[in-house]
Symmetry: C2
Subunit: 693 residues, 2 copies
């Protein structure tokens, strides 16, 4: 294939051109296959134009179809090339000979731009092993087969890279194979000896080595895949109603920082702040998204920009850059990373409106275009236009991002990226990564699958998902199977049971069981999940007619009076903080939960229940295995049989094991078939650690 | 991705290298996406390294995912580039907005190396059409929307390529849109007028045109996809037993040519000859694959080569090159193309054994390796070795092929291509195509799917299939759906109910119904099918323990006494020739049956029955539609309801039509639900032409 410029416009025409006078004589556009063909290497993203992704120490399966003519043995190797050029050979295994399907487990140990390729090769020892075993037993070509074996092992002994011991071993075996004074059985056995096989597998004779192209693999830090997020509006943390002035006093970065230890104590990894920039006055929204805000209404932090500054400024009511630096430092002291919101849109009061009018769309009447969803208009928001002056707009956003990076921000949650050109994000994320490869971008694109996938392919490390609207067992199983499947090579899901924009009927009406369940599922189905402040308090009342919180923090302050839920407070015991702390502790203690691609579902008889497991081999050789069973019906306790796919758990069908429920501390003996009872009456979810003697 | 040389051997090592000291700083390997991203263009074979295929005038669907940010209208065009560089723009249609799935029907009109690409673009008229309709109706921005519409149409009127009439039309509409003296309704209608839309669709305003890469499309002559083949052993045609000498006298190319008019009269397109080369004497096989042939046993034509010559020679008993030329000429006079068998293996008597010993594998004891399937050995066959001297071996085979091309052979049926290196075939087929792009290669690779697919990808125009072993309705439906699906872009199946190597139990024991059924299905499910001589006579007796003919022609002469079945002959009426003639006539009369990708299945209540249809739009605008209903149980007559998917037939659910059975001449009125009764009692298959008023 070749790149081609766009065709200059001419009429659409379905009629093909008239036949050419003679048959064209040109070389067909075939790229030669290798001597040992390698086909269908996976993952390969967009024909290799974009990298597959993994995080450091994340093991994933590399698949290929490797085949050859005739009956001789074929074999395959993955060549993993690190950013510094160092190469690692990983043997592949044929897991389905009928489909010529080969796999290898691949793990990269540090971040950067890696590549991998598959090499198919002819395996003369494998051919000999197969033929000699059969023919010698059948008395066919006996002396010939033994001689050929001896010659093969002599050749292998001389191979560059062979250790002294290896050479000795193979030379010995070769001499026994060639020794006509010994019995045929002894001679053959010398060639098929376990140690010989192992040595030949360690450093095989690889003939006709045929490489696939090298495909790109972008390896990122673990936080790109794994983390527990906590979202809050900083102005709410420490805000209070001043009865003297009869007005709310905003929380600040200083007061918000005081909340960080509690969030860290629950076990979260990332604190995500909604936009902290100055808020416009023009057409400001009042409480519950009403038009005509009062003088004390703080406005939506998504209506960015005022005379106090734009995307590179901090709202004066929240504090200063020094306050931000101290907030970031306090977060760090608590083991938290700070994520901020990037919402690339402007209030009509934004400085860009005058300094960069070309960043906006001008209508035929000279006015600037508001955000619209025809016939609706959003008069508090001007969308940005990236096409009038792409390089100018790109550079300005890049400058803005650097402001925050320079203040220690390494995670950006991007609001509605699907309303800006994809090529803009691709450029921005790549450009930032040149100097800051540890920066992580989360796409808040609740939109069609193609756009979500493409944003991930061009660089977003993480993506919000449809999780909030997947409540049934079947749909969760299907959706998570999809997310943990081929797309996991480039798209990493983040699961949020609620956000400041989302409060589904399930959460409005599901009660305690729903709030526990949806957090536990989010935290175990995928490695990255998040909750929005107030989740602890099960804030479940929606604005009538909307599926979001009533008295939403987007438009007003919210003092949650956290102290009331502390020991001795009037609402002690009425918070889910303890449950969330348990969930996060389980995530930290069990590395299996840090991965996505290891998700496997098991059968449950009751269609309202879900069972899945994750397993991960640890450096010490042990296996960390977690099994989750959940009753998705928040309104009734259900009992059912769960049928575990034992081989998926690394066990044989008749095996049993100790199932330790990490939520309740109970322990049972489980095997393939297990009785479970779950629901609002007790706990909606088992999170079970597998313990084996 | 980049091509890379194979890594020099070093130990397999699963341990990744030690962490690098610092984070690498390099540009991630991202290729920029277009401003309007185009994703997942299909068909694209092996990431564009190998061409998709079509034959002349074969229409196929090109798919792509085309998307953009925000709400503005997106559109897409296929640019089809002919071998001479001429480009055709084909508008795409979005058939699934939720998945951003766009399609276009593509047809190439002459053979050669074409390319296609998809261009995504911003569609300002589409955006305006959508927004203006909604906003003007809602009274929002009315004057602004009308003004913007006028400006847009003025711009469109000036577009290069716009016809005079088109320009006039758009300018008129623009002036009405801009005319504030007229009513809003009149002004808007002018911009949304049907003629304006059509003109804008004929030559659209395409902004931000963003091309995909150009992907290769190899267009071949129609015979590559469509044809009815007839196989015979030329030595059997005209052979006779000489009672004086008590020996068989071989048929010749001259006597075999006498059979051609009868084969042509049955409607076949290709006459395929098993190998016509000199046959080796060494270890020659006797009747029924026995060892130790007698002096008069003719030997297997697959044991090629004797002192009389090798692959570039004709068996003296069959005749001379002049006889071959006359055979080819007679075939041509009868409208038949000649295909010959290429079996690249040698009898120990082959001239290559002495002239080109490097074409064979020499064992450690100095002997040449026989063909083997350990522990079995085939001592009448030496396989070729293409690795000792690849360029020599490739060139010699190329020379041999040219000998036959020079005698008018344009179709090669390749015996067991999967036992030779794939890259050899790729080179050979490409090299031949440089000067002879009309040469067609059929792969006889009854092997694993990956090899069959790869042989097709590297150049074989056609492939034998698993058809002979797919007898149930479910498995036929699954298999044919697969063959007519994505792989149809590069692999073209050939269906054979029997061959000289294949006589399944279904055919041994199915009786007349089976022999009619399997020919009719082969001839209608896919465009290329073939039968082996004797099919007309329902030769169904297998050699005990084998699934092939007893007294197989591979090892002996077979005089079928065709005259006995002619009118007045002792066996008149005992042949299927008439049925086959009908089937082939139906194929010729109905262009829908010349395509593969138009195959669609319909529901039948009885699980032993199968229903499918094929439709094709003809140049005159009419639609050729064939519906086939078959009872796959050869032993009982069955009746069932068939439920036709009416939209697939281009009709609405309540429509009815005249169903004309092309086998029996009967006509019924059919609609969605139809009663059918089929089986040995009457006919096993309906082949129905749809007739509509």
């Amino acid at each position: 294939m070749t790149a081609s410029p766009p065709l200059s416009d001419r009429p659409h025409d379905k009629r093909p051109p008239a036949p050419a006078p003679t048959l064209p004589v040109s070389t067909p556009p075939q790229v030669p296959v290798g001597r040992i063909p390698v086909q269908d290497v996976r993952p390969v993203i967009d024909h290799g134009l974009r990298p597959a992704k993994a995080v450091v120490d994340e093991t994933f399966t590399l698949d290929a179809t490797v085949l050859r003519e005739g009956h001789d043995a074929v074999n395959a190797t993955v060549v993993l090339t690190a950013p510094d050029g160092q190469q690692t050979l990983i043997p592949m295994e044929c897991i389905n000979p009928g489909l010529n399907h080969w796999v290898a487990e691949v793990t990269a140990s540090y971040p950067g731009n890696w590549t991998y390729r598959v090499e198919g090769w002819s395996d003369p020892y494998g051919t000999w092993e197969h033929d000699a075993s059969i023919k010698v037993a059948a008395g066919v070509d006996v002396e010939l087969m033994l001689t050929e074996g001896a010659l093969l092992l002599e050749r292998a002994a001389e191979q560059p890279g062979r250790s002294g011991d290896g050479r000795l071993l193979l030379d010995d075996a070769a001499s026994v194979l060639a020794d006509t004074d010994r019995s045929v059985t002894t001679r053959l056995s010398a060639g098929l000896d376990r140690a010989v096989r192992e040595e030949m597998s360690r450093l095989p004779l690889r003939d006709m080595v045929s490489p696939s192209p090298d495909y790109p693999l972008l390896v990122e830090r673990e936080r790109a895949l794994y983390g527990a997020w906590y979202e809050f509006f900083p102005r709410s943390e420490g805000c209070y109603y001043d009865t003297n002035t009869e007005a709310w006093v905003s929380g600040t970065l200083v007061t918000a920082a005081k909340r960080l230890p509690a969030i860290a104590a629950m076990g979260f990894d990332v604190i995500y702040l909604t936009p902290i920039h100055p808020i416009g006055r023009a057409a400001r929204k009042g409480p519950n998204n009403t038009l005509g805000a009062g003088p004390h209404d703080p406005g939506s932090p998504y209506a960015i920009g005022s005379p106090d500054g734009g995307h590179d400024a901090i709202h004066p009511e929240l504090g200063t850059f020094d306050d931000l630096d101290e907030f970031v430092a306090e977060a760090e002291r608590n083991g938290l990373e700070v994520a901020i919101d990037i919402a690339l849109q402007a209030s009509p009061d934004h400085p860009w409106v005058s300094s960069h009018p070309e960043f906006f769309t001008r209508r035929a009447d000279g006015t600037i275009a508001y955000a619209e969803n025809p016939p609706k208009k959003y008069q508090d928001i001007y969308p940005l236009n990236f096409d009038n002056d792409p390089s100018g707009a790109y550079a300005e956003v890049r400058r803005v991002i650097q402001v925050w990076i320079d203040h220690g921000i390494k995670i950006f949650r991007v609001d509605n990226p699907h309303t800006k050109p994809v090529q803009f994000w691709q450029w921005l994320i790549q450009d930032v990564a040149k100097e800051h490869p540890d920066v992580i971008w989360l796409a808040e694109a609740f939109t069609k699958p193609a756009m979500m996938h493409l944003l991930a392919k061009v660089g977003f490390q993480q993506s919000y998902t449809y999780y909030a609207w997947r409540n049934g067992a079947g749909e969760l199983r299907d959706y998570c199977t999809e997310l943990a499947g081929e797309s996991a090579a480039y798209m990493r899901p983040s699961f949020w049971p609620t956000t400041h924009d989302i409060l589904t009927p399930y959460m409005q009406f599901g009660g305690l069981a729903a709030w526990k369940l949806r957090a536990a599922l989010a935290a175990t189905l995928v490695p990255t999940y998040g909750i929005y402040a107030g989740y602890e308090l099960m804030e479940h009342v929606a604005r009538p007619g909307a599926e979001e919180q009533i008295d939403n923090e987007k438009y007003q302050f919210k003092d949650r009076r956290w102290a009331d839920y502390e020991p001795g407070g009037p609402k002690e015991g009425q918070s889910l903080a303890g449950y969330l702390t348990t969930i996060n502790a389980i995530r930290k203690a069990h590395p299996a939960l840090r991965w996505l691609r290891n998700l496997r579902f098991h059968h449950v008889d009751d269609e309202n229940m879900l069972c899945f497991s994750k397993a991960r081999r640890l450096p010490d050789g042990s296996e960390d295995i977690i099994i989750v069973v959940a009753n998705l019906d928040p309104h009734s306790t259900r009992s059912s049989m769960v049928r575990l796919d034992m081989p998926v758990l690394g066990m044989d069908w008749p095996d049993s094991f100790e199932a330790h429920d990490l939520i309740t501390g109970e322990t049972w003996t489980w095997w393939e078939h297990n009785y479970v009872r779950l629901g609002p009456e007790w706990e909606p979810v088992h999170i079970v650690a597998v313990r084996r003697p």
